[in-house]
């Protein structure tokens, strides 16, 4: 956890960035996508339970506010459909699993934040998060910190990095060194499978 914090402080430290971006709200507006919009991703999952991070890749499809599909294509196939208040996960050869968002404040927070950004709805994002933006137009960072104490216990913060109107990485920091780094579009190319979190954070920041 401490390592993560240090790393993210390093990631967010202003000296690394160019001209300051205006404000988080206009950044969110710039990130808005019109549904449907798809982007390829590579996701790296870190956890204190794991010896090595788990890497999966696939495609993310934004279908409109609170409607999101996440399809994993490698190394196995998995389809996740997020529809309003419920998340259903289907994997080949297994019983589908349905989760209610109310039961999982961390997941709800993640999805509200994510969906809010994709919809350009800064008001929706601000209902659940304190938002801050740093960096310059060519390399910015948007940080969402949950307001709800229940959510805080299980979701540390969400960080989006990118350049101009394009998001590059989506980082989710949980408790106990849990972290998920999702590299979007071009950022996902040429990624080594055994990459360490520190290198990955550097990668998210780089051009």
């Amino acid at each position: 956890m401490r390592i993560l914090l240090a790393l993210s402080v390093c990631l967010l430290s202003p000296r690394a960035w160019g001209d300051a971006v205006a404000d988080p709200e206009s950044l969110i507006h710039r990130l808005a996508r019109t549904a449907p919009a798809s982007v390829g991703f590579v996701e790296v999952r870190y956890s204190s339970l794991l010896r090595a991070p788990i890497v999966v890749s696939g495609e993310l499809t934004y279908l409109g506010p609170a409607r999101l599909d996440r399809d994993v294509t490698a190394p196995y196939r998995e389809h996740t459909a997020i529809r309003d208040e419920s998340v259903s996960i289907e994997r080949e050869g297994e019983q589908p699993r349905t989760l209610a968002l109310r039961r999982a404040p961390e997941l709800r927070g993640l999805l509200t934040g994510f969906s809010g950004v994709l919809a350009g709805d800064s008001a929706a994002v601000k209902r659940s998060f304190a938002i801050a933006a740093k960096g310059a137009d060519d390399a910015w960072t948007l940080e969402l910190t949950p307001l709800d104490p229940g959510m805080q216990r299980r979701l540390d913060r969400i960080v989006v990095t990118g350049a101009a109107g394009e998001p590059r990485c989506l980082l989710v920091f949980g408790p106990h060194e849990a972290a998920t780094v999702m590299l979007l579009g071009a950022a996902a190319l040429n990624l080594r499978a055994d990459v360490a979190l520190a290198q990955l954070l550097e990668h998210c920041r780089a051009e």
């Binding site: 996701e43 999952r45 956890s47 204190s48 339970l49 794991l50 010896r51 090595a52 991070p53 788990i54 999966v56 996440r70 994993v72 196995y76 998995e78 996740t80 997020i82 208040e85 998340v87 996960i89 994997r91 297994e94 699993r97 989760l99 209610a100 109310r102 039961r103 999982a104 961390e106 997941l107 993640l110 999805l111 299980r154 979701l155 989710v172 949980g174 106990h176 849990a178 998920t180």
Partner: protein
């Protein structure tokens, strides 16, 4: 002479006695509302179970609640708040809306998951199984569910708790939105709340409904409309309606009665005193029931006051027969033979109910017999002392004289009687509806639209079918659980064939000790499990030591004492277990409830082959009602014979006995025929009303017979019977036009009966007009003198 002083003292003492008895009754009387009091003792095992289940059974106690009128998310919030406050309420045993928080699984029961779930029945906790699970968990971890599941994994890498919570969900789950049950349209949030009070306890149910309203307001549910449905709600609703109806009927009949009596007697004082016999009857009747039975059923009260209403006639006879030159005491003395015969025969008839084997009817007998006897005695020995001299003599009434002559002149051909019987027989056999009403529910019928709504809500919720139950009697809880487990494969196959949609029993939640021990024997010890895990983890991304909490849990499950029902009862499972399993007389009775029963015969066959009892509540209640009716009919037959005997002895002449009893017998036939012709199936209420009709008819005939020889006495009797029958007619005609079937069932027969009794008593009981003078000559001088 101290005569008048003694009389006034007697009157004052009597009134004081009645008042103090009334005060005692007021403080002692417990009014019950358990319908079972009016059902006979069970003769079969099925009936015994039925009596246990009626009103107390799980289905009867469960109120279905629907919330609507707001966006689903708000409805779900209100539903959750409601369940939370109802679960904490003392009026409700439990409430459910489908929301099963994982945290509700008690921490100290967590290790038991391997003993409660069938997972390891078919497989071992070996390296192969664990490897498969860990591969899935790794994938779960990098799925969106990962954040949620991650904290659970070290202790429960097979996610056994989730499997268990899923297993405990109802077989047929309603649609869920925001984690709680909704109807198919998604517009109404649904929940179930089981009351502590039995369904037929309107008081307890009213308190529960008030609590429900309070809880909804507490949930901050402005603008959300709540619909409640269920047997308990209906009993409150029907009681309120009956009470309101009786309220205005009571007011209307009291005013009408006062007007009638004022017109008839023109004396306010006499009027007040004439209430004394009925008042005494009510108070003494209540005191007798209270002293003998401890409590009195609401229906006993309602019927009882209907039946002792005949006592209001007693003082009216006295008032109508007063005239100049004779004291009220003397009038009472002269009327006494007719009055005493009427009171005694009615009392003896009602007394047979005492032995009907139905507690409610025994109470009714006690109430009416003591009440009527006291009313008769009050009219004879107390009331006359209160009545002064100087009453108008109705024997001198010209109008009544002309009326009497006109009636006496009416032709009375025998063929008319035969024709009447013929018409009655025709009406009797032409009617197509069943003769008897066997449906217990029809006793207090609920409007069909409410029943329809109830059915619809229960279908949406998939609540257990109200009608069918499987019952297993076992020596103790472990035995019951073991027998339920034996039954399980057959039940599963019935679900498979579609005979039933689902079932629920205690063994679904807590397996028998034998099964739990068998599962314990299949659990690996810590060393073996650690080795298996190490092997399973090899090619997974998990760190070697992260599952130590899991190994500790399995070890605890392996050596722990098995989970007993007593222990499970203290958990959130307790409420459901309490319904499905209970101890009865030192034995344990287990219930299997069903949803969507399509083939009851298959369930019956299953029960027969497994030594269980298949209970069709509808069928059992119908045989019960039929059995009760048989007992009442036997009581009535004995009552009729006793009545015949008493009247014969009192009148000492077969011809006079026939004259007195003929109108009553014929009226019974007429009332039955009219009921048949108007499409009515007879129930308990009709039978009791027929008894009242017979009692009234007997009184009218006895008084006409008593006055047969004397023109003035005839006019006075005509006056008395006119006032009596008019007042009775007024009361019961109002009941007959009521919306409530119960009140109609009492009002209609009595209305028809009073008219028929009056007409037939006039036509059949009084002797031929031609003979009048001859008879008068043969009678004693006192009466001849009185006529002058």
């Amino acid at each position: 002479m101290s005569g008048p002083r003694v009389a006034w003292l007697l009157l004052a003492a009597w009134i004081a006695g009645v008042i103090s008895l009334g005060v005692w009754v007021q403080s002692e009387l417990v009014v019950g509302s358990d319908l079972r009091l009016f059902l006979p003792r069970a003769t079969t095992r099925e009936q015994g179970l039925l009596l246990d289940e009626i009103g107390e059974g799980p289905a009867a106690r469960a109120l279905v609640v629907a919330l609507e009128g707001a966006p689903p998310e708000r409805l779900a919030e209100a539903s959750r708040a409601l369940v939370e406050s109802l679960s904490a309420s003392s009026e409700f045993r439990w409430a459910a809306n489908g929301d099963v928080p994982l945290e509700s699984f008690p921490e100290d029961l967590l290790p038991y998951r391997f003993l409660l779930s069938p997972t390891i029945d078919s497989r071992e906790l070996d390296a192969e199984y664990l490897h498969g699970e860990l591969v899935k968990r790794a994938r779960d971890l990098s799925s969106p569910a990962g954040l949620v599941l991650e904290p659970l994994l070290p202790r429960d890498p097979t996610l056994e708790v989730l499997a268990l919570v899923q297993r405990w969900q109802p077989a047929q789950e309603p649609r869920r939105q925001f984690d709680v049950w909704f109807d198919r349209s998604g517009r109404r949030a649904l929940l179930i709340a089981e009351t502590v009070a039995p369904a037929f306890d309107p008081g307890g149910q009213r308190a529960a409904l008030a609590e429900l309203e309070r809880a909804l307001r507490g949930a901050g549910a402005d603008g959300i409309a709540m619909t409640v449905s269920g047997t308990g709600y209906f009993s409150v609703l029907m009681e309120a309606r009956t009470r309101a109806e009786i309220g205005w009927l009571g007011t209307a009949t009291t005013i009408a009665m006062l007007v009638l009596l004022l017109v008839a007697y023109r004396r306010v004082g006499s009027l007040l005193y004439s209430a004394l016999p009925l008042l005494s009857a009510g108070v003494v009747g209540l005191a007798a029931v209270s002293a003998i039975f401890g409590s009195v059923h609401g229906i006993t009260l309602a019927f009882g006051f209907t039946l002792i209403g005949v006592a209001q006639d007693y003082p009216l006879h006295l008032l109508s027969h007063r005239h100049a030159g004779i004291t009220a005491i003397e009038t009472a003395r002269r009327l006494w033979p007719a009055l005493a015969t009427g009171v005694a025969s009615t009392c003896i008839a009602y007394f047979t109910f005492f032995f009907s084997g139905v507690l409610g009817l025994a109470q009714l007998a006690c109430f009416t017999v003591s009440g009527l006897a006291v009313a008769g005695l009050t009219t004879r020995f107390v009331l006359p002392h209160a009545l002064g001299a100087g009453a108008p003599d109705y024997g001198a009434s010209v109008l009544l004289g002309r009326l009497w002559t006109a009636i006496a002149g009416l032709p009375r051909p025998r063929w008319a009687g035969v024709a009447l019987l013929g018409v009655c027989a025709l009406a009797f056999f032409a009617a197509r509806q069943p003769f008897w009403e066997n449906d217990l529910g029809k006793l207090t019928p609920v409007p069909t639209d409410l029943l329809e709504k109830d059915r619809e809500l229960r279908a949406e919720l998939g609540t257990p079918d109200l009608r069918y139950l499987l019952v297993l009697d076992a020596v103790d809880a472990p035995d019951a659980l073991a027998r339920l487990e034996q039954l399980d494969p057959a039940l599963v196959s019935l679900v498979g064939t579609g005979a039933i949609a689902g079932y629920d029993d205690a063994a679904r939640y807590v397996p028998s000790p034998a099964t739990q021990r068998a599962r314990q024997a299949r659990l690996p010890d810590a060393t073996a499990l650690r080795a298996a895990l190490a092997e399973a983890q090899l090619d997974t991304p998990f760190r070697p030591d992260v599952f130590e909490p899991f190994i500790a849990d399995v070890e605890r499950a392996r050596v722990a004492p098995v989970l007993t029902l007593e222990r499970a009862a203290a958990t959130p499972l307790g409420a459901r277990l309490g319904i499905l399993l209970k101890s009865v007389d030192g034995e344990t009775r287990a219930l299997v409830t069903f949803t969507g029963v399509r083939d009851p015969a298959a369930l019956r066959a299953l029960a027969d082959s497994d030594g269980a009892i298949f209970l069709d509540l509808k069928e059992a209640s119908e045989t019960l009602v039929a059995g009760e009716r048989a007992r009442i009919l036997v009581s009535l037959a004995i009552a009729a014979l006793l009545l015949l005997a008493v009247v014969s002895v009192a009148l000492r002449s077969p011809a006079r006995t026939l004259r007195v009893l003929a109108p009553m017998a014929l009226t019974t036939v007429v009332v039955l025929a009219v009921l048949r012709a108007t499409g009515v199936s007879l129930n308990l209420f009709h039978l009791i009303s027929l008894v009242l009709v017979a009692g009234l008819g007997l009184d009218y005939a006895l008084f006409f017979e008593h006055a047969a020889d004397d023109a003035s006495e005839q006019r006075r009797t005509l006056h008395a019977v006119l006032v009596c029958s008019l007042s009775t007619l007024m009361v019961f005609a109002l009941l007959a036009i009521s919306d409530l079937p119960v009140l109609r069932a009492v009002g209609l027969p009595v209305t028809i009966g009073v008219v028929s009794n009056f007409a037939l008593a006039l036509l059949l009981t009084r002797p031929d007009a031609r003979l009048e003078s001859h008879v008068a000559v043969h009678r004693g001088p006192a009466k001849t003198k009185a006529r002058r």
